[in-house]
Amino acid sequence: MAFLELADLRVKYGNIEVIHGINVRVEEGDIIAILGANGAGKSTTLLTISGLVKPSGGSISFRDAPIHRFPAHTIVKLGIAQVPEGRRVFGTLTVRENLNLGSFVSKDKQAISKTLAWIYELFPILSERREQLAGTLSGGEQQMLAIGRALMSRPKILLLDEPSLGLAPLLVMTILQTLREINRSGVTIVLVEQNARAALKLAHRGYVLELGNVVIEDDSAALIANAEVQAAYLGGGIA
Amino acid sequence: MIRQLKSIGIPAVLFACLPLFLNAYWIDVLNSVGIYAILGLSLNLIVGHTGLFNLGHAAFYAVGAYTAAILNTKFQVPVLLLIPVCGFAAGLFALVVSKPIIHLRGDYLCIVTIGVGEIVRIALINDVFGITGGSNGIFGISRPSLFGFVIRTPLEFFYLIWAFAAITVLLFHLLERSRFGRALNYLREDEVAAEGSGINTAHYKLASFVIGAAWAGMTGNLFAAKMTIISPDSFTFWESVVMFAIVILGGSGSIPGVLVGAFLIVGLPEVFREFANARMLVFGAAMMVMMVFRTQGLLPARPRPYAIPALPEGEGGE
């Protein structure tokens, strides 16, 4: 009984298969890290979970119910939110409107304003800029907005595609810490990160993708210790 | 090279023989197709390659046609000699009107081009400067002649028009595969990135507009020569729409596509004549259906081929 399970998942773009039958299990309350080189298929995997890309084979189930045929907006309603690669904030809407859209699926006004307050607390700069158009925010500010927006839906599972991208080091730490807190409050997290060391430190378990296949799957401690992983993803170490 | 000759040459020769088996009506339909094909190609440069939303191309066509008509009827200059003059006039006109507006984005540019088209048409109707003949237009344009041979029948026009079309195809094909053609594509794709790669976007936008307009102007000359009368009715917004549809339906940025587009957009209403007054209904439906089933156009542009040079050993890489 897995919380979220990808079974033999295959994905094609046009005629080219880029995910070749991967299996991923996520238990409730887990933090899962997905590592992999450029073009390994990490983003594709997340997009497929969210329903923006349709699998060509295999299945995705959430609480044992298949969801891979559901349209994207229904999947959000189930409680799976995503911080997409490249942020994709709504550039001509204000920061506040962006955040409001994050809670589009929720109807509970009170809960929404509580979450909003929390997010402003988390990212004070967003609160300062609430009337600024999202498109004119700096790269890092947009990243914060994207994360905040996803959190606004109070998801059960949060998928993050490189959340630390473009964030200042100080903020990377804050965000990873926040993720841990969020996780403690009961949210399951699937994290795609290039900053593998930090990601593995945070995660309970990890998967390594290569060219559309899962090549390694283990506890994070074991992954950190894994020679291959070290060579490929942890090589330099943070200065 | 030989293969290219075969794949283009043989159909071209067959096409050149085609009128020998057709009656005057069908030849004239082909002539119409030819004129619209050239217009489509010229618009393709602007819309397809550069991505400028131009729905007023008829204005430049009109400038060319009227230049030919006025100079021919007033000063008896042989029509065909006027081809470069018409191109120049239309190009100049395009330069003047598009200079201040070329920076407009997408649909704003679109409405301005529509506006320019309408202004030109209204000016023609109102007999601007007293030389356009108002809504009557200009009549009595002399038949074109080549080396003393007067062109009058549809068959003769067929060769004139399609020769010009062939030259256009060749030149535009070469233009496409050059620094110039690529530059247009870059600014279609992303203006900021193009500018950031060192491309003078304003210059290229203008250049593509002017060349496209000049070509439409030259086509206007052919049209005037063929019809011998021209009037503002032939240069309405609808004409611009037809040219636009040819480009998009055929395949934006694709020369074979535009040719096919011209055949369909001009030819189909003729084929549908048997539907009598429902023919435009059928045509509209056909337009939708074709677009829905071939969303990229019938023959979308194919990537340019490049012969990637072999680098000497040891160069590049890590």
């Binding site: 409001n100 994050g102 589009f104 | 506006g115 435009m280």
Partner: protein, 301 residues
């Protein structure tokens, strides 16, 4: 002076109709970045449906002029909304992922199709609304008579504009519509059913166009299957003038265009009025490249 005021009211009357049609253009454009050329024919359809319903249901006889007109408007708007939704399903939805200009050509095809369908059903001749449906009263102001109907039309346009504005800017669904306009994929990730949103847009926009068609029919009395093109072009111009995608912009653009036309017709030349209107448009765009109330540009590199 009297002539000036008279022309002012003339311009307002035409302008408010432009504005009403422009709202529909802007609405659809705002979401799909598609110039819905068929909008003008949905407008025509509204006028013809109004005529059919009016003469077949005898609404005015049964419900009196005001009640009849309101019920009629509701019915016409409903029917045109359905037509709009169908149009979207058939002609635009398959083109969602393809280049923007492809959809423009599909829209042109749809426009030709609709226009000729109307011609084949209703005939090519002018059709005439039954006379004297709307009250003939008029108000005397500043030395000119202003027919009540004109004020009603202007009022209706303003009300619809305001309603639409509030709907788009202030409501949850409205924000969703704008989000879908920017990035459909990201909008889906917010839980927005993008196809439903677009469908909604394709019902509201055409419904407004249909209402405009009905008003034109009721007020001017004479309708024709080609009348959409002219109005459509003007309304599109108006939408751009105000800044396309911007709802108050459509209103301002429409009214302004009406005024420019009537003033240039009155004080310059009638035959040149459209050319003058376009010249003014171009001048305005040179100064303000995204229209009077232009869209908020947020392109940061």
């Amino acid at each position: 002076m009297e002539q000036f005021f008279q022309q002012l009211t003339n311009g307002l009357a035409v302008g408010s109709i432009y504005a009403l049609i422009a709202l529909g253009y802007t609405m659809v454009y705002g979401v799909l970045k598609l110039i819905n050329f068929a909008h003008s024919d949905l407008f025509t359809l509204g006028a013809y449906l109004g005529l059919t319903l009016l003469s077949s249901l005898l609404l005015v006889d049964r419900l009196g002029p005001l009640g009849g007109a309101l019920v009629l408007a509701a019915m016409v708007m409903g029917l045109v909304a359905v037509a709009g939704a169908l149009l979207d399903r058939v002609a635009y939805r398959p083109l969602r992922e393809s280049p923007r200009l492809s959809a423009v050509v599909s829209a042109l095809g749809a426009s030709i199709f609709l226009q000729n369908t109307i011609m084949l059903i209703y005939g090519a001749r002018y059709r005439v609304y039954p006379p004297d449906i709307l009250p003939k009263a008029s108000i005397h102001m500043l030395g000119v008579d202003i027919p009540l109907v004109r004020i009603l039309i202007l009022g209706a346009s303003v009300i619809m504009m305001a309603g639409l504005f509030v709907f788009i800017q202030k409501t949850r669904i409205g924000t969703a519509i704008r989000a879908a306009a920017i990035d459909q994929g990201a909008a889906r990730l917010m839980g927005i059913d993008v196809n439903r949103v677009i469908l909604l847009v394709f019902m509201v926009g055409p419904a407004l166009g249909g209402a405009a068609g009905l008003m034109v029919g009721l007020y001017y009395g004479q309708i024709n299957f080609t009348m959409g093109w002219g109005y459509g072009l003007k309304a599109f111009t108006a939408a751009i003038l105000g800044g396309i995608g911007n709802i108050p912009g459509a209103m301002v653009g429409g009214i302004l265009l009406g005024l420019i036309e009537s003033m240039s017709a009155a004080y310059l030349s009638f035959a040149w009025k459209d050319a003058i209107a376009f010249c003014v448009l171009i001048l305005i765009l040179i100064v303000r490249p995204t229209g009077l109330l232009g869209e908020r540009v947020a392109e940061k590199v």
